[in-house]
């Protein structure tokens, strides 16, 4: 090949790549600092846009999109973990340490913080915001449309709603002002936490559990077969002696820790469980 041709090809290549870069102002080296923003990033960004996600996303108990997540290097949210990835965008949540974020901003790195998704509204908004940040708003819209579609198709709610409690170790539970609480309502259950006066997050003590006598409990343990005072509480003999023998609905913790399209699956499973309970009761 003549030298000129070689030269021309090089020129053409450089021009083209410049043109492409100018076209896509999308960030190309995104670092996420929170397991839940990790999930949305994995859901909405192109694989080559992602530079690093948190170490929690490599854990089965926390990461719904584990298979995808395993392809990326991890960070522990500290500035010195983040800098080697030379990020052009850092996405954090409201839980990230403000000191780390200030340090990154001083180093001229773009930092965006997403609000915490604790109900449907903030979840859909957050997904939309993430889609815009990564430069694929159409993908975000598609995810949102599908979620809303599925939520509309949940089975109808009957009048006598059985009582359910989200019952985590130590009696921790969520009220109706939470994503799981909303899913509980939409699936046609009555939330024990609401009856106990808990709106967002709180503890159901043993006495209240015995008094309310829930027909079902939701368990979503992060790690199984470990031992602590908290995890010993559901084994308290008072519950057994009170004849509380609720249906236990097991949900993988990866489905409940972060909000996303899988949260709709939670609502669907809860609705399914309610239908099964009422057919059992009918027999």
């Amino acid at each position: 090949m003549p030298a000129l041709a070689k030269y021309l090809i090089v020129i053409l290549f450089i021009t083209l790549s410049h043109a492409l870069k100018a076209d896509t102002i999308n960030p190309q080296r995104i670092v996420s600092l929170n397991v839940c923003t990790d999930q949305w990033l994995l859901l909405l960004a192109d694989p080559e846009q992602i530079a690093s996600i948190t170490h929690l996303s490599h854990e089965e108990g926390a990461s719904y999109l584990l298979a995808k997540a395993l392809k990326y290097p991890t960070n522990k949210g500290r500035a010195e973990d983040i800098l080697p990835f030379k990020p052009d965008l850092v996405i954090s949540s409201a839980y990230t340490s403000p000191n780390t974020l200030n340090l990154l901003r001083q180093l001229q790195i773009r930092v965006e913080t997403l609000p915490i998704a604790d109900d449907w509204e903030s979840t859909l908004k957050g997904i939309q915001q993430m889609a815009q940040l990564v430069g694929h708003p159409e993908r975000g819209q598609a995810v949102i449309d599908e979620m809303q579609q599925r939520l509309k198709q949940l089975p109808a709610i009957s009048d006598d709603k059985p009582i359910i409690a989200s019952y985590e170790p130590n009696g921790y539970t969520v009220g109706n002002q939470s994503l799981l609480g909303q899913a509980i309502q939409q699936a046609g259950w009555q939330n024990a936490a609401e009856l106990a006066g808990i709106r967002q997050y709180g503890q159901l003590d043993l006495e209240t559990m015995i008094r309310l006598h829930p027909a079902a409990i939701i368990e979503s343990p992060y790690r199984r077969n470990t031992w602590s005072r908290a995890e010993a509480l559901p084994q308290h003999p008072a519950l057994r002696k009170a004849g509380i023998n609720p249906q236990v609905i097991q949900l993988p913790s990866a489905m409940t820790i972060c909000a996303g399209p899988w949260s709709v699956t939670v609502a669907e499973r809860l609705a399914q469980a309610r239908l099964e309970l009422s057919t059992k009761a009918a027999h």
Binding site: E207, I210, N225, R229, H236, A242
Partner: protein
Amino acid sequence: MKENRLVIALSILVAVLFIMSLWVGRNPLAIWQAAQALDSESVGSIILMEIRLPRALIALFAGATLGLCGAAMQGLLRNPLASPDLIGSSSGAALCAVIVLYFGFTTSASLPLLPVAGMVGALLATLLVFILAGRDSSISTLILAGVAINTLATAGMALLLNLAPSPYAMRELVLWTMGDLTDRSMDDFYLMLPFTVLGWALLIGVGRQLSALTLGESTAQTLGINPQRLRWRIFLAVALAVGATVSTTGVIGFIGLIIPHLLRPWVGYDAGRLLGVSALGGAALLLAADIGVRLIPTEMPLKVGVLTAIVGAPFFLHLILSARKQHL
């Protein structure tokens, strides 16, 4: 006469507080109705028998143990600042209980190991403080050695709970350092009972020997007491009772310090007669503090040790100041 009246008054107080402890809770409960309906599986009787009763019983036994062991240690060391929590027995017990509870021993068959571990921890920590401080140590040396052991044990607990497999372990550090009685079952009570009672039984009859120690170890020896054997007996008794108690409730501070000190003038400063009334006084104080944490409206349940420390720490300062005045 004065003493008999004191014993009667304290007994009535303990009984009243015990009944109040059954009565106070998140749900209004007519305990007489619940008690009458004991056979039936009513919600009320289950709440009474399975939740409130174990809580009240554990408070009764743990409080009595702390008061009794505080009095025994103060008598043995002839030092009003000695108590199981200050000289490290309690935190040593908690450290060993943490090891057993959070690591590997997850089957219920190994649960009896818990009070045993607490006992071993209490004994080791007590001996360590004595080796550190020396036998005829001054008040300040003893307290400094206790501070060192307490700090070490608390740091050890923090480290172990951080490393524990359970994701909930770290949050339970405060339960071990502050003490807590919520949602314990009769099973927990039965677990702590035998060792606690064994510890108490070891203290039967030491009262007179502690009285004799008022005259110093040598003179006490010529009164027929074996100070060496007495020391081991009390260490072992405290290890058994405090070990079993702490492995159930965590470290509840200051009861073993305050109660003997408050009651001492009432028994004419007799180290022996102080034992029984201190047990009653300790039970009353812990029952009262546990009712207190249930009555104070907080978002998250308050730990009972928070209340005893709020009362106890200023008291401790007062004791140090008056001890300093005596030495000047």
